[in-house]
């Protein structure tokens, strides 16, 4: 699904060059759950931005579903993002002035889906994330865990092939974090590809493979062994 070959990203500021990513090679297969770990500033989020078609890279090759990303126009990238990629953030990034239901419906709105169809899908999602009773609440009336559930709901409403999660449990307590990780894991079980940036080994244990980054380079890649119970 994702094929990255010798990919580099360089930031230039006031004559100083910083290599955020340095000749990275990475493959993510369809239906896989991959965690990216590493210390602060190692390039995790930069990699996630590139994977989400939000940021450009300077060297190397990035093939997304058999398409060379470099050849895609901004418009094409936007279309792919709208239809195929869902995002989950550490700080939830819900829109304060929209209700739970409206936040979840937003991606469909931008896809031009009719209002009736939106309503129907939102109902389904609310059901799945168990937030039906809070559909008309505003984000600031919810707990952190509830907000992140809504954010996950928003990410999956378009049935995306890929979910990119940036430290999804970073602002949550352990019980809420567990809940979210189980949701992501459940999605992955149903065939959705998940790439997650995390600091937490516990969260990473939900994935199938852990990629470790240090100073912009991949230093290790290992499969997670799941106990057979």
């Amino acid at each position: 699904m994702i094929r990255i070959h010798n990919l580099s990203k360089v930031y230039r500021a006031q004559g100083v060059e910083t290599r955020a990513l340095n000749e990275i090679n990475l493959r993510v297969h369809k239906g896989e759950f991959v965690s990216i770990m590493g210390p602060s500033g190692c390039g995790k989020t930069t990699l996630l931005n590139i994977l989400g078609l939000l940021d450009d890279y300077d060297e190397g090759l990035f093939v997304y579903r058999d398409q060379d990303v470099h050849q895609l126009s901004e418009k094409q990238k936007l279309q792919i993002r709208k239809e195929q990629i869902g995002f989950v953030f550490q700080n939830f990034n819900l829109i304060d002035d929209l209700t739970v239901a409206e936040n979840i419906a937003l991606p469909l709105h931008y896809l031009g889906v009719s209002s009736a169809e939106r309503q129907e899908k939102v109902m389904q999602i609310l059901d799945r994330i168990s937030m039906g009773h809070r559909r008309d609440f505003f984000p600031n009336q919810l707990s952190g865990g509830q907000q992140q559930r809504v954010a996950v709901g928003r990410a999956i409403i378009t049935d995306p092939a890929l979910i990119l999660a940036d430290e999804p449990t970073g602002n949550l307590d352990s019980a809420q974090g567990k809940e979210i990780m189980e949701m992501l894991s459940g999605l992955n079980d149903k065939g959705t590809t998940v790439v997650m940036v995390t600091h937490s080994s516990h969260d990473a244990s939900y994935s199938q493979r852990i990629v470790r980054l240090l100073d912009g380079s991949i230093v290790s890649e290992k499969k997670v062994l799941h106990a057979p119970f």
């Binding site: 989020t45 939000l54 940021d55 995002f87 953030f89 700080n91 990034n93 002035d97 929209l98 896809l111």
Partner: protein, 805 residues
């Protein structure tokens, strides 16, 4: 697409109530001022456009070329209307009217009261000016002598009904038969009236009429036939002149031209002699300019607040972009919100205008009767809607463009949203605000000073304790000698004299032949003159510099007229020995002066005309017939007793005419109504401008402190005191204020100078006032910053560590 955004926009505004309230009320103030200005301009610029065929109706102005002078009058002689209509086939109809300057005492069965704005008109009047007759018939309305046509409100006031044709209404002298009732004339009519009295019919032949052409007394109007240019009439005037005016013209070596002025241009171009008071374009533009500035100030405030808020919305915009929104989507979202704010502000502005015009004394302060009658004023509806949408778009554009540029990557950052990038434009905008308000404050202050200066200036005469009694009707005119004698006998009256007009309100102008120093030849000059009674100089306390004042004996001497001239006349004629110099006037058909006079005294210069005019040469003549304003100097200690006594004496002589008086000091102030109104308007607008600017500065201060919350927290933790923080923030804003002030001061000085050019006598522009204004501005600025920084510092001490995270 736009409509689907409305509910969200409403929600967003509802959820940020304080922000919405500040914005809506700020914009509403700006819009309300704009609406008031629009109403004012609409009234001013549609003067006399309500007349049917107004583009074919012209007033005939007279241009006299006599000696070295050219005098242009708004009026013509009695005969002009009928002679012009006879001579020109191109003139469809001509008429003339005469304003009765004083109020008239009207009596009906149910009401007796003084009425102003009465005109005398000929029977052709309604052929030129089509008026809607509610009762009666326009064809016969003014054809009978002593008939009267009333306006609707006049009729209702006096009779309580409109069905009054054929009834009578009387003055102290005559009875008038009511011939019709017409709709009220709109107030924006240059020759406004509430009633028309028919003119007495005196049959005259054309040679009689032509003699009247050299006088000025009537306002003559012509309605040209379709397609006729006024320049054609003016060009063809030579033939008219040769036929009717030539003989006398040769005798006085004068020339006469006419100038046709479109009726809709009278209001703003009423600078002729003998004209009705009109509007001044400079004032109208000044008012419009300040209104526009206030609107701009309000828009800037909104931009500032919306920008500050948009910085807090960066992450929202970024997230929307991640989810698939494009720049257009974001721009529309912000614009729909700002247009909505603007439309809400418009609703509030309507309410504000309604309050200002119906409840507050705004109309009486500016001497208009503006009202927000939206259903009858489609132009205003379109204007206000258009303006609101434009303001909404303009004020939302900058934040919209800014937010649309946000990168989706910002959704990943943990920035709190406030960035310093958009800081400079905000500073520029606030500097502009500061400069506008400082300029307005300085200009307004000097305008106020000028008005005070006029009120307190030495006029060359003493207006204090001078009571004026105008004699208007024939019965009192016949008894004027008895009346003045009776007044003079009062123990409370120090001195009595007569004047042809209210002293200080203006003079008359005529052609004179004046003896020159050391030459036998006389010089022809057009000069100001004023007919007065004996004791005039004493009553008015005008100093006599040379010779003697008039006495009663002078009135008896019919052979030679006695004259007093002012010092300016002596200087103008370069007389070394003014006493005994001869002056002749009153020319006959052959151009021979009929009245010969001799200078018996020289008095000090005094303001016989308004303060707009320079002190001009002036001749005082002694005349009982035309001087009908009694000037009484009364006892300073016993004003009320004196007035009672005067009234008693008046009533015993002319009981049928109610006693009316005024104080000269007050009458003089009324001459500066226009300026007084202006300074009031300026005062109101200044207050509005200051409020809006303070709001803007509060916004900037809160934005600046908001930007530096983290820095303030760090400094707080490291032990900085509150004043250190205030000074830190103020230093950053100081130069914003200073730049604003630097732009404002020269601007204010230029504006003030320009305004003062309207006056012959001007107050000084003192630097101390400017310095003081600047200091006060800095103090206010510092106060606002201090208030804000203290709040932030206090909040910080609780949340410091949180902010540092």
């Amino acid at each position: 697409m736009l409509l689907s955004k409305l509910p969200y926009a409403f929600r967003s505004l509802y959820r940020h109530k304080l922000y919405t309230l500040l914005n809506v009320s700020g914009l509403a103030i700006g819009l309300a001022v704009s609406l008031l200005v629009a109403l004012y301009l609409q009234a001013e610029f549609t003067y006399d456009k309500h007349w049917e065929d107004h583009d074919r109706i012209y007033r005939v102005n007279a241009e006299f070329h006599l000696g070295n002078n050219v005098d242009v009058y708004g009026g013509t002689g009695y005969g002009a209307a009928s002679l012009l209509q006879d001579y020109y086939a191109e003139i469809e109809q001509a008429t003339h009217l005469l304003h009765i300057e004083n109020s008239i005492y009207f009596k009906s069965d149910s009401l007796r009261d003084y009425v102003e704005d009465v005109v005398i008109a000929d029977s052709n009047f309604f052929k030129v000016f089509r008026l809607n007759f509610l009762q009666g018939n326009s064809n016969q309305a003014l054809s009978e002598p002593r008939s009267i046509v009333l306006s609707e409100s006049f009729a209702l006031q006096y009779f309580g009904s409109l069905d009054i044709v054929g009834k009578y209404i009387s003055t102290s002298n005559f009875e008038y038969k009511i011939a019709g009732v017409v709709e009220d004339l709109p107030e924006n009519s240059h020759h406004y009236f509430k009633a028309l009295i028919s003119e007495p019919h005196i049959p005259r032949d054309s040679s009689d009429l032509s003699l009247t052409l050299w006088q000025v007394g009537f306002y003559t109007f012509v309605k040209l036939k379709e397609g006729v240019e006024e320049s054609f009439i003016e060009a063809k005037f030579d033939g008219f002149f040769d036929r009717y005016m030539e003989p006398l013209a040769d005798a006085v070596q004068g020339r006469y031209y006419i100038d046709l002025q479109p009726i809709s241009k009278l209001h703003f171009y009423s600078n002729k002699s003998y004209d009705r008071p009109g509007g001044r374009l400079v004032y109208v533009y000044g008012f419009a300019g300040i209104g526009l500035l206030i609107l701009i100030l309000a828009i800037i405030n909104y931009i500032n607040m919306a920008t500050a808020r948009s910085l807090r919305r960066i992450r929202e915009a970024a997230m929307r972009k991640v989810l698939g929104a494009d720049g257009l989507e974001i721009r529309l979202m912000i614009l729909v919100e700002s247009v909505l704010v603007s439309l809400l502000a418009l609703l509030l502005a309507f309410a504000m205008v309604e309050v200002a015009t119906q409840i507050l004394p705004f109309n009486s302060a500016i001497g208009k009767s503006l009202s927000l009658n939206l259903s009858a004023n489609p132009f205003l509806v379109l204007f206000s809607l258009g303006l609101a949408i434009l303001v909404g778009v303009l004020s939302g554009l900058y934040p919209a463009i800014n937010l649309a540029k946000v990168s989706p990557l910002d959704a990943f950052s943990n920035k709190k949203g406030l960035q310093r990038g958009d800081y400079l434009p905000r500073k520029v905008l606030v500097a502009f605000q500061v400069s506008v308000s400082v300029a307005v404050v300085i200009t307004a202050f000097f305008m106020y000073r000028q008005m005070e200066f006029i009120k307190n200036r030495n006029l060359g005469f003493n207006a204090d304790q001078v009571v004026l009694v105008s004699i208007q009707d024939t019965s009192s005119i016949q008894k004027i000698d008895q009346i003045t004698r009776a007044f003079r006998r009062s123990a409370y009256v120090e001195s009595v004299s007569l004047g042809a007009s209210v002293t200080g309100s203006g003079t008359y102008r005529s052609l004179f032949e004046v003896e020159q120093e050391g030459l036998s030849e006389y010089r022809r000059e057009s000069l100001n003159y004023l007919a007065v009674g004996p004791d005039y100089l004493k009553t008015m306390e005008i100093p006599l510099l040379l010779g003697r004042a008039f006495d009663e004996q002078d009135l008896e001497d019919s052979l030679e007229e006695r004259l007093i001239v002012n010092q300016a006349m002596v200087d103008f004629m370069q007389w070394k020995n003014p006493l005994g110099k001869r002056i002749r006037r009153g020319f006959d058909e052959e151009g021979q002066a009929q009245i010969s006079g001799r200078v018996i005294g020289v008095c000090g210069n005094f303001n016989a005309q308004s303060l707009h005019a320079q002190m001009a040469p002036l001749v005082l003549t002694l005349n009982r017939e035309t001087a009908r304003v009694i000037h009484l100097k009364i006892d300073r200690q016993q004003v009320y007793v004196a007035l009672d006594d005067i009234e008693r004496r008046w009533t015993s002589l002319v009981p049928q005419v109610p006693f009316q008086f005024s104080f000269l000091r007050k009458d003089l102030l009324e001459m500066y109504q226009e300026e007084l109104r202006q300074s009031k308007l300026i005062l109101y607008l200044t207050i509005v401008a200051i409020i809006i600017s303070i709001l803007g500065f509060v916004g900037l201060a809160s934005f600046t402190t908001g930007l530096r919350t983290r820095e303030i927290a760090i400094r707080n933790v490291l032990g900085a005191g509150s004043w250190d923080l205030v000074n830190l923030i103020f230093k950053e804003l100081l130069w914003v204020i200073l730049i604003g002030v630097l732009i404002a001061v020269p601007l204010a000085v230029v504006l003030t100078r320009w305004w003062l050019l309207n006056f012959a006598f001007r107050t000084n522009i003192e630097p101390s006032v400017i310095v003081l204004t600047v200091i006060i501005t800095l103090i206010i600025g510092y106060g606002i910053v201090a208030l804000h920084s203290f709040t932030v510092a206090r909040r910080n001490s609780i949340h410091s560590l949180e902010n540092l995270r």
